[in-house]
Amino acid sequence: MTIVETKGVTKDYREGRTDVHALRGVDLKIGEGEFIAVAGPSGSGKTTLLNIVSGLDSATAGEVRVDGEEISGMRPAALSGLRLRKIGFVFQSYNLIPVLTARENVEFTMLLQGVPAGERRKRALEMLRHVGLEGLENRRPPTLSGGQQQRVAVARAIVTRPRLVLADEPTANLDSETGAKLLDLMRELNREENMTFVFSTHDPMVMDYSRRLIRLHDGQVASDERREGEGG
């Protein structure tokens, strides 16, 4: 089953007088349960692609379908709803809510989904333990290290078990050991719950973990290879 499909997606930004072509015709089909790394040099369009797939940004041209729904013309409220129900997002720069504790940050999407308080709390604590943040549940983001914050961000994205997780360079600020632990966790969720993961990354380890590696170059798909073996 296809969860994401893009057809001829382009994205142009106007920078002063010149147009920047961030994406120039991207055709992709992402099946449910895939574990994908999107690699490419800085400026090749990785973040732009993830933003468009999640509906945070709109494509200049082309079609984007998420779980069968065409999202190009959707209203902001509908897109928010789609993200809330189906998509978890990990940002390149964590983007935690500074006034909330680690636990409350993880609870936040569940709150939006209407999960009852007790359940929310239980799941958040469990997830924080999973990402190795036991004991730090009541700390606020500014008092956590970059790596710890990124783990909270990952916990927040996956705690609701969304069908699709989009992660923009999730390991960029982590040491390789912590990075590997997070990847293991996500791999596990991928296998056990059939959640789909798409990472953008420069990190060879993430590429190693992935089962499909898409390389972007200048806003186009330069290569798209499936990698069997690793992890089965």
């Binding site: 945070l56 940004d57 902001p76 940002f91 809510i97 999407t109």
Partner: protein
């Protein structure tokens, strides 16, 4: 609950700014409560004055007497005074015949308002007895005496002990005339009354003006203006019980519409001024709300990215402003009410020539009045303006484009 907590903590983020805006809102609210209460207090004085000098709180008249005030539409006071005296809120009741006449002494003739009064009963209702400057107030049975306004006396060239004559028209159209001896001069401190009013024994006026024992009004003084509507109903009920369908009960606002209108105009123009003041404060607050919003655009973008519906985001931003406004109002209540209450108990002395004001039975001291109306209007104005102002960032928040917000640092 968590949204509330989030909003609350966001307020705590820039404590200095939040405290300052809460103080600004609180100050505006407290100031409004204080000045509105003082304004209401000054009306109490004004009403008290009107009631004591002119009409009483209520009057009982013959139906149809008001507003032409023809002597022929006269009320038979039989039994009414005694009955009204017994009502709990009634302080005093005085029968009167109010009419007009020409008064002369020697060469001089002037027009004057004639107050036919029952001296003993009048003391329980009006201040007339207390503003007699020269001579003395009328004795209970003094059928020949007259009290003159000081200016009228001067114009006539009359002094205490002098004789004057009056001439007017009786209830039946006949001529009313008589001789009177000046017993005293009064000074109300109101030009009109001092220049053109005289008080004579009720019986004398009734006889001269062919009133056949009738009166033009029974003035009733109550223990408080606030209870006037209830008292009016009670008096009405009493009259009905006596089968006096011919009598009507009128409140002072009906009898002196100018005073009531004056109060209304003063209050309304006050409200406009207060709204303008709060609007100025509102612009300051708007700036604060907007800054608190701009600083967090990035974060709001994150919330949208997490799937928060734009309208809910908008509500959250609004909630923060509402909390801040609520906090401000609490501050205003905590600061404004005790201060105002102090001046409600002790009064504020505007010192407008104490000696003079005291002489006229008025007071230069205004007691603030913390009426529900004051809180309703002060709260209403502050809430309406600050909550309207808070709409701007909230509505803006609903239109944030996630990627643009996320790029905002």
């Amino acid at each position: 609950m968590m949204l509330l907590k989030t909003a609350w903590r966001n307020i705590g983020r820039n404590k200095r700014r939040s405290v300052l805006s809460a103080l600004a809102i609180g100050f505006a609210f407290g100031l409004l409560v204080f000045s509105m209460a003082l304004q209401r207090g000054s009306y109490v004085d004004m009403i008290q004055n009107t009631v004591r000098v002119h009409t009483g709180h209520l009057q009982i008249q013959q139906a149809g007497h008001f507003p032409e005030r023809l002597l022929s539409e006269k009320l038979d006071p039989a039994g009414i005074l005694e009955a009204v005296d017994k009502l709990p809120r009634v302080v005093g009741a005085a029968p009167r015949v109010m009419t007009a006449a020409l008064v002369s002494k020697g060469e001089h003739t002037f027009g004057a308002a004639v107050f036919g009064i029952d001296p003993e009963r009048e003391k329980t209702v009006s201040t007339l007895a207390s503003v007699v400057r020269e001579g003395a107030f009328l004795a209970p049975d003094d059928r020949e005496g007259v009290l003159l306004g000081t200016t009228l006396a001067k114009n006539l060239g009359a002094a205490v002990g002098d004789e004057i004559v009056f001439i007017g028209q009786g209830a039946d159209g006949s001529m009313a005339a008589g001789k009177l001896i000046v017993r005293g001069l009064f000074k109300m401190g109101m030009g009109d009354l001092d220049r053109a009013a005289m008080a004579v024994h009720l019986a004398t006026v009734q006889k001269a003006f062919s009133m056949e024992g009738g009166v033009t009004e029974i003035a009733v003084l109550l223990d408080s203006e606030r209870m006037r509507p209830e008292a009016e109903r009670e008096v009405r009920a009493k009259l009905d019980g006596m089968g006096r369908k011919d009598a009507v009960v009128l409140g002072w606002p009906t009898l002196m519409p100018g005073v009531e209108q004056g109060i209304r105009v003063d209050w309304n123009s006050g409200l406009i001024m207060y709204a303008a003041l709060v609007l100025v404060v509102g612009f300051g607050i708007a700036n604060t709300f907007l800054m608190a919003y701009m600083e967090r655009i990035h974060e709001l973008g994150v919330l949208l990215a997490l799937g928060m519906p734009p309208r809910r985001l908008s509500r959250m931003v609004y909630l923060e402003s509402v909390l801040l406004v609520g906090l401000g109002i609490l501050v205003g209540l905590a600061g404004g009410v005790p201060i105002t209450y102090y001046y409600q108990v002790n009064g504020i002395d505007f010192g407008i020539n104490e000696e003079l004001t005291a002489k006229y039975g008025m007071s230069s001291v205004i007691h603030a009045q913390l009426e529900p109306l004051v809180f309703a209007w002060a709260g209403g104005i502050v809430l309406a303006i600050s909550l309207a102002v808070a709409l701007y960032p909230a509505l803006k928040a609903a239109r944030i484009k996630p990627v643009e917000a996320l790029r905002h640092t």
